[in-house]
């Protein structure tokens, strides 16, 4: 499983999302959209929106941090 978290440096929920994956021992690649214009275009094109965090799990883009959804999707416990 390949996980990417697209974020901005000041976005609070991006930090919450990163902490979530760290707490569950899941490795991820953090991408700062303010320093990666190509990734920014990718997020806008693939999700059709301009909000962060965006979490990419394999080929699926997930907009926003939804703990309950992620726990279920990744079959994790709190």
């Amino acid at each position: 499983m390949k996980i990417k978290i697209f974020s901005s440096p000041t976005c609070p929920w991006c930090q919450v999302a990163k902490d979530f994956f760290k707490d569950h021992g899941l490795e991820f690649e953090a991408i700062d959209l303010t320093e990666d214009p190509e990734a920014l275009e990718e997020v806008i094109e693939k999700t059709g929106q301009m909000g962060v965090p965006v979490i990419k799990i394999d080929d699926e883009y997930i907009v926003d941090f939804d703990k309950k959804f992620l726990l279920k999707k990744l079959n994790l416990k709190e």
Binding site: S8, T10, C11, W13, V16, L40, M50, G51, V52, K67
Partner: protein, 310 residues
């Protein structure tokens, strides 16, 4: 299962109430959409006694850990749709995976907080996260070197403008007031910046766009002239409103805040309210925490008077 108390809401007031109930060994459940609520959205908190400087995320984590340390029963991802009084008990109705779920309690503490007020104009829902946002610190970086508008003229709007100062190429602040209000140092800074243009006395008519926001229409209130402003991003900061819509059995004031007395009692005996959803005058974390404690102690008192087992 009939709980002694159900707390609805998981931010400062709800967590504070939970800590007080846990220490009294009250059988309670806390249900909320997100434990910590919107506290993480605060860039920094510098007025909470004992902690001189902390991010909203860290304060939220501290609050959560404190409550979770008592092995409390907490259910996240739940929004209450209705509250029903049945004899001396209360039924809280929620919708979970398209199933109606009922939670029953002898007493209820409502601490559902508040949410950003919406403009209620055409295009607002359609362009949310497509150039329109209620959180400049979250979504601001999408507007690097772009032209943005901030709707609102109070402290939160001014701070939003400050947070975009090093990102956007041009910042318009549109307000229905005659001038910006709030902290003088921030207003002076904004007015000195060549990037910032303040457009006072306006009423927003419509958010315009194609795939993403392209601008907005507004009316100059003084002269009654329709205007168009081309911008790439719009941030709305026109205040907050209480999350009180589903609690129609309770008396509310003209701002839709739930009316409480000094002990947190609402108009229905056994139901208490705390934090920003209640009609307490100042919306501050310290006040929410205090009012959560008051509501919890009042609920304990209520249970003692109505149930000899407490």
């Amino acid at each position: 299962m009939i709980y002694d108390v159900i707390i609805v809401g998981g931010s400062a007031a709800g967590i504070s109430a939970g800590i007080y109930l846990a220490r009294q060994r009250i059988n309670f459940l806390l249900i909320c959409e997100k434990l910590g609520g919107d506290l993480p959205n605060l860039t920094v908190v510098q007025n909470y006694p004992g902690i001189s400087d902390i991010s909203g995320i860290d304060l939220s984590e501290n609050f959560k850990k404190h409550l979770q340390g008592y092995n409390s029963e907490i259910k996240e991802g739940i929004s209450v749709k209705d509250i029903i009084v049945q004899d001396n008990h209360f039924l809280l109705k929620s919708l979970e995976q398209n199933q109606e779920v009922l939670y029953e309690a002898k007493s209820v503490i409502i601490a559902t907080g508040s949410k950003p007020r919406e403009l209620n104009v055409e295009g607002e829902v359609e362009y949310l996260h497509k150039g329109l946002s209620y959180c400049a610190i979250c979504d601001g970086p999408f507007f690097n070197n772009k032209c943005v508008a901030i709707i609102g003229g109070g402290n939160s709007a001014n701070y939003a403008a400050m947070s975009l100062m090093n990102i956007a190429s041009e910042i318009f602040i549109l307000t229905d007031l005659d001038d910006l209000v709030g902290e003088k140092t921030v207003i002076e800074y904004l007015k000195k910046s060549p990037k910032v243009k303040i457009i006072p006395r306006v009423k927003i008519g419509k958010i315009k766009g194609e795939k993403f926001v392209t601008g907005l229409e507004y009316i100059d209130i003084k002269y009654g002239i329709d205007q168009i402003l081309d911008v790439d991003g719009i941030f709305i900061y026109i205040g907050m409103e209480p999350n009180s819509d589903v609690f129609d059995i309770l008396e509310k004031n003209e701002k839709k805040e739930i009316k409480i007395d000094k002990t947190g009692k609402t108009s229905v005996p056994g139901i208490f309210a705390a934090g920003d959803v209640a009609d307490t005058p100042y919306k501050q974390i310290a006040i929410a925490v205090g009012s959560g404690a008051i509501a919890a102690l009042s609920a304990v008192n209520y249970l003692g008077q109505n149930d000899q087992s407490h």
